[in-house]
Every structure is written in structure tokens, then in C-alpha cells.
Symmetry: C2
Subunit: 411 residues, 2 copies
């Protein structure tokens, strides 16, 4: 077993009560709705120690531990969730659920459309970050939790955190949005759209109706992922990881085979992604991100947090993240401050670009642990029964995965 | 006629003497080789007033004037080349030629392979920036010009400028590399490779053999161009141009049609590009850019300019250009300074990203004119016969094209 792992975990499934169709922002409804989720640690007596973790674009409910007891199938935030880690499962009851529209067990375009008995494909309704979060609210109701101690997540996970804080403020005490934005910029929309266009351009996509066909739009999805991967890195991290080094060559081959290491990296990750992700889900989830805009309908971001003054914020950005540049977080902090919110902000110096929220483990652990310690103290959160504080592991004892392995887990 | 235009222009063609195959850096040869080129203005008596303009990735020889007398077919650097403009065709003999590997009249993958009587496709040899420039040297020989007054260009055009200065220093007096780099960074290679992968992923590409088929790899080429277009803009210019505005909609459509203006822009430009550019040329020209690395073989950029101490440099970068960030130019300036070169450097404040070299007309005109005035004075360059200095037009009299139109011309 990995050191400080939560150990074997098993994904659970919650299907909403059948009598009520789930309403979506678009005006459409969805029924049935199933959420895949995992939990780590134990609820305390007054159910005040629950933390919800929200995943990014291509992540899922499996955030920590060894899936189905397989030590090679670690969670996407393994370094950050576990006994004695930042989200300390000795003290907290940690929940992570897969968003609707995705392809890791929650209802999405690959699910069976009850009206036809076949996969939805493009008949799946467009969902929003707001819809994803309202589905999570139903899960939290189902788990009998009135108020979450905290909601945390990076990238698209951070958008969900902001959505929770803005639209369900009574259901949480604290919010930790990391490497994210309150509204997708036109550049982010542009990168999303290029990814979608790469999928549309693949004849095997077939307007989303490929689930019964021999060929899937893997080529298009791989290109979409390659574009994404560039945006998760920084120019500096690319210099550090790859430079201009050739892959398995001494000198230029003067051909169109993969030659540079960075080309090999992109191609490998693009194709690997097609083995684990559904192209239609890529369309739906990126669309949800593009639609996200907490400044609407008033035009004021501060107004979005008018009822959130009691929510304590820890906002984290990374200096080399050019996908969600620090100024997005700074605008958020300004708005939160204007709304009278207790907000702690750190712009972490890092070379790792957007990936930093998965890679800067030690810094993240320090930040998150201090913030959560303060929360536990101020909100008088009791530990679950049988809790024995353990000495925090010195950073040299951390089981730090190789950076490349972590980066490939990017959700 | 457009104000201050060079007027009707006609592309010319120069085919290398048949007896000698043209040697390439790869060790392959090419024969026959034709270069498409245009000239504007007149050579002076001692042939000392010639300026070579080098184009970028998707540009061609048509840099100024009305192609075939058609006033709608203006050159890609129309604002910068013409009577009284920065490259003043009253004073200078301006040359622009299409690079080998491209698809605007010079020999490239769509040309007929004499060995088969059919288009080369992927049998066209891989060419480098060095090869492109050695072909230009032959054109300059053909035009009877011993020494160019100046070589100038932006983006890939700037790489050619640096190649001229480093490897043919005796053939020029001055060099103006703009918004460029002395070696493609891994991030640039990554963006190139994603574009290529988008083309490879298109079944109509057919390993480059599509010239005789009904369908061309337009879908893949369009995606490649969309990726490129994002990199030519800046986050700020995207905010200014598009923001989060919807195209022809009042509110979200909750569908996968094009909704945001930025999506519409990318899609339009991606598809428009397929009507004017060849997918195989996109592969060859981007590959040439990726290979470009003046630090080789010594590892020292200064060493590349060891014989260039007499070449006067004007180096220009733009603050919001994240494709060829200013630090690339600063590294170049350091190396040139170490090599004892006379170098003037400006990092122009601009919101327009990489596109700025086509859009910041007034600033560029001031910079280029001052530098060229100094060159004329110091190098005692005579005007061509019949030259009458005209008052420099006040900037309000410039015929400034709408920014979007200029951006779409991006070479």
C-alpha cells in the first residue's frame, strides 16, 4: 500500500429519486440522474467535518486511494488527500463525485437515453457548472450533510467551488478555488472550441452517434487533448521537461516522424487519453466551462457573492499558469473583498503552469493544512470518533510521485 | 488605387539554372527550383538600395500593391511597403519572394515531381530555413545584387533575416528581425506539432497524396489554422476584439452551434485558410520553423554572428506577443552585443500579441523609417534616378486598413 494512502476504495453510485426529473439551466430536464462518488474518512458526530472535492475537465470521482484495491490505480489528487495529508482523512470526511456530462459513472452523453434505449450522444442536454453543482447538492442531501466544512478544487473544480459559494452559500463554511476563474475568458473559449472543432472534424465522430460503430473519434479527441496539454504547461516547464531534445535520435531525421521529445509527449498523451475519455463528454464538459460566468446577470462579480459573507475563502493561483492567469484570481479576490468576505489569497511562485495545482505538493499541503487548521479551530469542528492526531510527516517522508506521472493524471 | 500603394504588381518567377541540382541541408537535392517573387521600386545606379522582405508561415511573394491590378488583392504588408511608407519604394528597391516548400508559386510539395510527373506530396524533401535563404541568395544573384541594404521580416520572416545575417553576412548591410526567435522553443514546436497532428488525423490527408482526389484535408488544415490563430492573438486582444459576446444570439443556445464571437472568428478563418493554403505546405513550413536553431552547432548564439559584426540590427518585439515572447528577442540582442554588433532594440508596448507586427503600423513606420534613414546616411545609399523626396504623410493621412482585415492577412 502506498504510504499515507486511504487504501482500497470503491466507487459508489447515487441515483436521484425517480419521481422528479432534474431541471437544467437550459430549461431541459434529465431523468434518471446517477452520480458516481467516493468518500474517504469518517463523518463526525455532528456531521460538520465533510469536505467536497471537485474535479477538473477530465477527472472523476476517484480522487484518492487504490481503486478496487488496485495499488496502481491511485486517485488524481493522491498527494493531497489521505491520512495526515492536506485533506487529512483522519480528521475529515472527504467526498468527490463525478460531474454530470462526464464519462466516469455519472450520467452523461454515453449513458442510455430512456426515451430510445440507446446512448444519448448529442441528444444529451447541455449541462452547466450550475447544473453540475445542483446535482452535487442532491448528493450531499443524500449523505445527510446539512453544511459542508469546505468545497475545494482546481481548474474546472475551482469553478464548481465558486458556484457553490455564490449560489448555495448556506451549504458551506469555506471555499478553496485553485487555479481557476469566475468567468471563462475568450482565450479559454477559443482553446475549448479548437478542441471541439478537432472532434467535429473527425468523420468517426458522426455527429456524436458513434457508440454502436466500430470506429470512435479517437483521432479528433487526441488532437483536442494535445491542445489542452500545451495549455496545462508553461513555456518554462516545457524548457525544463523537454527543451529541444530529440526523442531517440541523435540528429534531425528530415521527415515527419515524431522527432522532438515534446512531440512524443503530446502524441503519447493524446492517444492515451482516447483510451479513458469519451469524445462527447469532452464536448459537453468544455461547453459547461465556456458558459461559466459568475458576473452574470448583474455584470458584477461582487454581487454574485452578496449572500456569501460568512464563507471563508482560500484562493490560490500560480505565477506561470497562463491558462487561468493569476489576474483572474486577483479579480476574484477583489470581488470577494468588496462583498465583505474573509479571503486569504496566495499567488504561488511556480514554473509548472496550470499543472502546478497537482505538482506543487509541498506548498499546497502547507497552504491547505494551515487554512483547514484555522477552520477547524474557528468553526469548532470535532474530530470523528477514535481520531488520534498523528505527527505531520516531514516533507522528506512524503511519497512524492514522479512529476510526469502526476502531470499525466491531470484531471 | 489605394493611397500610397505601389499600384498594380505582377508576380515573377525565377527558375534556377538547370545544370545544378539545389542541395538541401538534409543531404537531398531539389531540381528544378522555381521562386515566385515580386519587386517594387527601382534599383539605384550602384545597386545599393535593395531591401529583401521575408514572409511568415502562410505568406507569399505578394507583399505590396494590387496583384494583377486588382485593388482588392493587396499585399500582406501593404501598410509598410510603398511610396512614402516605412519601406519607401521611392527610395528603395524592395524584393519579396515566396519560400521553397510553400504553395504560392515557389517549388513545394504541390509542385510536379519530375521523377514521377505527379505532385510531390510527401516525396518533397524536408527543407529548412537555411535552404529557404540559400534559394533567396540565388535570386539575389540573379537580380545582380551583390549586397542587400537590408533584410527584414516578422515571425518566420524574422528567422530568415537571422539566417541571412548569420550565414550570408557579406551579402547584407542591415537586418531587421521582428517578433521572432533564434531557435524555436519547445512550446512553439508543440503548437506546430498539434497543427500537423490535426492534418495527419484527417483521413482526406491520405499521407499527403490528395492532389488527385476529390477531397482535400480541409477539416484538418482548418483546425491547424485555428490553433495558430489563437497564438497570434493575446488574451487582451481577444478581450478587446471579442470579449464573451455571442454571435447573433441574445443568450446561450445550449447547443453545439457556434455561439461566441471568438468561436465564429476561429471557424471562419480556419475554413477561409483552406481556400488559399496547401495542407502539405503547412507541414513543410512548420517543420522548417521547428528545426530552426541558430545556437547550433556550437551551443552559443553569439558564435552564430561571429562574422556579422558589420551588420546593423534593428530588433523589434512586442510586449503581448506570447508566441515569440520578448525574452527571445532580448536573448538575441545579448548575443548580438556579445558578438560586437551594432544593435538597436525595441520592445514595443502593444495589446495585439504576435499580430502586432502587422497591426502596429504607426509605431512600426516610425521605427523602420528612422533606422532606414540612418542606414541611408551612414552607408551613403544614393536614391534611384528621378527620386523626389515627398513629405512623409501625417499619420492621419495613412490609409489604415481595419484591424481585423489586416489580422486576417497574417502571413
Amino acid at each position: 500500500m502506498t504510504t499515507n494512502s486511504v487504501g482500497p476504495v470503491y466507487t459508489q453510485f447515487f441515483t436521484f429519486a425517480e419521481e422528479e426529473p432534474f431541471p437544467l439551466e437550459s430549461g431541459e430536464t434529465l431523468q434518471p440522474v446517477t452520480l458516481a462518488y467516493e468518500t474517504y474518512g469518517a463523518l463526525n458526530a455532528d456531521r460538520s467535518n465533510a469536505i467536497l472535492i471537485c474535479h477538473a475537465l477530465s477527472g472523476g470521482a476517484h480522487a484518492a486511494g487504490e481503486l478496487d484495491g488496485d495499488p496502481t490505480r491511485l486517485g488524481w489528487w493522491e498527494e493531497t488527500i489521505g491520512p495526515g495529508k492536506a485533506f487529512d482523512t483522519d480528521r475529515f470526511f472527504v467526498i468527490c463525485s463525478n460531474v454530470i456530462g462526464s464519462c466516469y459513472g455519472s450520467t452523461g452523453p454515453a449513458s442510455i437515453n430512456p426515451a430510445t434505449g440507446k446512448p444519448y450522444g448529442l441528444n444529451f442536454p447541455v449541462v452547466t457548472i450550475g447544473d453540475m453543482v445542483r446535482a452535487q447538492v442532491k448528493l450531499i442531501d443524500h449523505l445527510g450533510i446539512e453544511r459542508l466544512l469546505c468545497v475545494a478544487g482546481g481548474s474546472m473544480g475551482g469553478m464548481q467551488v465558486l458556484e457553490w459559494a455564490a449560489h448555495h452559500p448556506q451549504r458551506l463554511r469555506a471555499a478553496i478555488p485553485i487555479a481557476t476563474t469566475a468567468h471563462h475568458s475568450p482565450m479559454l473559449i477559443a482553446f475549448s472550441e479548437v478542441g471541439r472543432q478537432a472532434i467535429y472534424a473527425d468523420p468517426a465522430w458522426n455527429h456524436g452517434a458513434y457508440y454502436d460503430t466500430a470506429q470512435k473519434p479517437d483521432a479528433g479527441l487526441a488532437v483536442a487533448r494535445m491542445v489542452g496539454h500545451i495549455t496545462y504547461l508553461s513555456e518554462e516547464s516545457m524548457h525544463l521537461k523537454f527543451g529541444r531534445r530529440l526523442q531517440g535520435h541523435e540528429k534531425y531525421g528530415y521527415e515527419f516522424e515524431t522527432e522532438f521529445e515534446v512531440e512524443s509527449y503530446l502524441k503519447y498523451n493524446g492517444h492515451k487519453f482516447t483510451q479513458r475519455f469519451d469524445a462527447n463528454s469532452y464536448l459537453y464538459v468544455t461547453k459547461a466551462m465556456d458558459y461559466f460566468d459568475l458576473t452574470q446577470p448583474t455584470g458584477s462579480l461582487a454581487a454574485a457573492f452578496a449572500d456569501s459573507a460568512h464563507v471563508k475563502f482560500l484562493v490560490i493561483s500560480f505565477t506561470s499558469d497562463w491558462l487561468y492567469p493569476s489576474y483572474h484570481s486577483k479579480q476574484l479576490v477583489s470581488a470577494l473583498t468588496a462583498a465583505g468576505v474573509d479571503v486569504t489569497y496566495l499567488d504561488v511562485k511556480s514554473s509548472w503552469g496550470h499543472d502546478a495545482f497537482l505538482l506543487e505538493v509541498e506548498t499546497m499541503t502547507n497552504l491547505l493544512s494551515s487554512f483547514l487548521d484555522r477552520l477547524v479551530r474557528e468553526e469548532r469542528v470535532a474530530a470523528p470518533s477514535g481520531y488520534m492526531p498523528r505527527p505531520r510527516p516531514a516533507s522528506r517522508n512524503h511519497t512524492v510521485l514522479p512529476r510526469t506521472q502526476l502531470a499525466d493524471n491531470l484531471a
